[in-house]
Amino acid sequence: MSTDVAGSGAGVPLAVDGLWKVFGPRPDRALTLAADGATRAEIQAATGCTIGVRDVSFTVAPGETFVVMGLSGSGKSTLVRCVARLTDVTRGRVTLDGQDLTAMGDADLRRIRRRTMSMVFQHFGLFPHRRVIDNVAYGLEVQGVAKADRQARAAEVIEVVGLGGWAQHYPQQLSGGMQQRVGLARALAVDPKVLFFDEPFSALDPLIRRDMQDELLRLQRAMPRTIVFITHDFAEAIKLGDRIAIMKDGAFDQVGTATELITNPATDYVREFTEDIPKAKVLTAAALMTPMAPGAEVPHDPTGAGPGGARTVAAGAAVETFLPVLLDGADTLTVVDADGRAVGVLARTDVARALG
């Protein structure tokens, strides 16, 4: 895959500040009630309004993958539609690369959309009356790119997502996984700086889903873009997300890295999700270690063979990779960085507590 196909921009920062979305006849009244601490049900009863998104703020750094994880009805799809301005925002601000999307008129918004953002949809949102290549070229067609140019670009992106040879087919002739590759290619074809994913893999079979997740990771490594990814699958969230927000009843319960959520769940709700996660696969040595000051003395371990005789483990290694060593009788391990320098100490008891 050539870098030029993957795109030129490296993503732009996205900031969401105090975002509210209220559906119904009297949003202002609902906002007042909500400010007084009324619950969703109380507001619904009093005003007939539904709170879709409740005071959500977050930032996504350039090239970061930010995952919003929630069950159905949590407001996650509404949130991504607000951020992408597919629906109007009741209150709050969405800032993309310093530009306030919420204050933007239709014409400016169209300009931003044509150049900087794309979206991949749960049910693919493909156009059944267009061939794969014309689906992928749609964004360029809307921009007014000449037919030969947009078809050439679309053909390249179709190769990138592994659909070479299918360009002249219609979407219905493809399997679900291939259709979503078309959706992905269509989003990538306009070389966006920001990508929104609305549960893109939840309609796919488990094996295909894993392929698509790997595909996304590969693309993101080659050319990092700013990504907001919606999912209801916690395993998918920790696989893909640099940071994860757990959403419930329209608000964020907790935002953090996978390790933070697992080792330190803020609410019982978050804990429930983390319980079924194979922690030994997810947690790394760096996440569990006690950091040491540079140059601190390395505890002596007579059985060890590392610096100062201690057994060592790489900072990024998952717990499951060094578990046998701990079970073998080692009480502590020295965590080293990529250059072999000791950065922390990992005690068997720390690991036991984290896995328990």
């Binding site: 169209r110 931003i112 959309r113 953002m117 809307v142």
Partner: protein, 654 residues
Amino acid sequence: MTVAAEPVADTGEPVPAPAAVDTAPAAPVSRARRLAPWAVLVVGVLALQAAFASATFPARLDTTFSDPLDRLARWAQSNRRTHPLFTGFFSPLTRALTWALDSVQGLLEWLPWFVLPAAVGLLILVRTRSRGQAAVAVAVTLYPGLVGLWPETMATLALMTVSVVLCVVIGAPLGVWCAFRPGVERVVRPVLDAMQTVPAPIYFLPMLLFFGVGPVAGAFATVIYALPPMVRLTTLGIRQVPGEAVEASTMFGASGRQTLLKVRLPMALPAIMTGISQSIMMALGIVVLAALLASGGLGQVILEALRQRATGRGLAAGLAIVAVATVLDRAARAVAQTDRTRWLGRRPALIALGALVAAAVAGRLAGSVAFPGVAETTLFDPVDSGVVWVRDNLSWFTRPVNDTIVGDVYVPVRDFLTGTVAWPVLVAVPAWLAWRVKGWRLAVFTAAAVVTMGLLGWWADSIDTLTQVAAAVVLSLAVALPLGVWAGTSTRVEAVLGPVLDTLQTLPSFVYMIPVVNWFTVGIVPGMIASVLYAVVPGIRITALGIRQVPTESLEASQAFGATPAQTLLGVRIPLAAPTIMAAVNQVIMMVLAMVIIAGLVGGGALGFQVINAVTRGEVGDGFEVGAIIALMAMVLDRLTQGIGQRLQPPSDR
């Protein structure tokens, strides 16, 4: 209804309050409640009958509306050339449409006869690559020429093409508008409903008033009749476009217009095509009637055949109309065929087009323009002989049938209703039924509708028409319901009935009026028989559909409890299919009403005669009144039967 409301108080008493009933304490109350409305009905009817036994209906508004309308018609007649309303609007519209009709017809007549079948065949071949379909289309296009009806067919084809194009040009944007603006739809929908419930000849009067006699009025009447499915299905199609596809388009920065043209309309195309097909079928149904407005063409041929009782020629022309509709439908589908993998490609298409033009020029130069006379309508002479044979040899059967229907059923019932029963009873009973079915609003509307019949001075004719409608409905249901249930339970029966029903449905109804008139002479019977033939089709189809749609699990559950087939049919199938069967009844009633009006052409009398008379002689005032009464009848009957259907729905579906 003040009359009916009064006896409510004293009906509570005659119902015995059985204190001895030891079940739920609510039982006696609910029983009294159940019986009260019936008591209201009985007491009310008896009281009204006693009070108004000899009263005739006071036709107070006899001329209130018809005179001004007649004056308006005369004014329109004399000012057609001068008044700005006509010179500024209707006349230019008429000229534009006349030009369109003449151009299309002129082109079709200028072309050598073989160009049209070739063009149709090539179009289908180029767009679908299906040789079979192309061959069928060519054969269908050739048929009218083979039976000697080529010029008339070209006139009808021009009328239908222009009407259907107008339907699309008006209906598609209107449908799109409705899809985006619920406010617009709230206004448009009731109008479309009315356009579909009101029998078609009713539209003809305003058309006559605005456009005068001729093909233009016929084209507009056709457009009005055929428009509703176009609008409805366009709206439906646009609404059915998945939200994600629209969002995807928006996310790429497409403007509203781009999303409409590149995503919404193409994705709605299958629904829009169904709309065009249905519009073509509707237009097919009305081109015969349009001949009453002197639009000429095949309709004229059929009307003449009806007058001369020439069954064969009528059948030939009827089939030619079906051919026109089929060719238009296939051609429209080929044009809308978007799956490019099935196209033949641009080069063959251009070669085909070139060959067609060359053939047309060559044909003109060689002078072979007119369709070579081959078989003419003599092809259908055996049909005429058959009809005559039946008339001459089966009179021992047809005569008593005729006499029984007229003498023993129709006349006594009509005389009983118009002579013996006091008119307020005939207002009160339908209103009571409406009240029971849908509540007081429909009751008031029903009462007002019935009173209007009398006030406008058409009491006797209205009751007469309603008697005919009732008789034809009873007959139709007696045929349609058992056959429908049978077809619903047996695939073999459905397979046998299918082609028969298809034929009855697609042939213009006039065609089977002709032999019936031959056998039963002019009068109410041919109209009624034609109504029955016309109305049993949807009756059987929808009933069978309802029976078939009953979930297999429910049937299996019934069988698992050891129910006999009869028990399953009566206890599970029919009750579960009841709402759909009611929809069949609704369709039967609406179609019978439409046909009983048209039967005015063959001596059906009453309102039908008045409408036909108004249309053919331009008696606008009477025509409008009678039209309004028929429209009211249609609306009341439609809502009543729909209301009953809703009451039969299981509670959760309501």
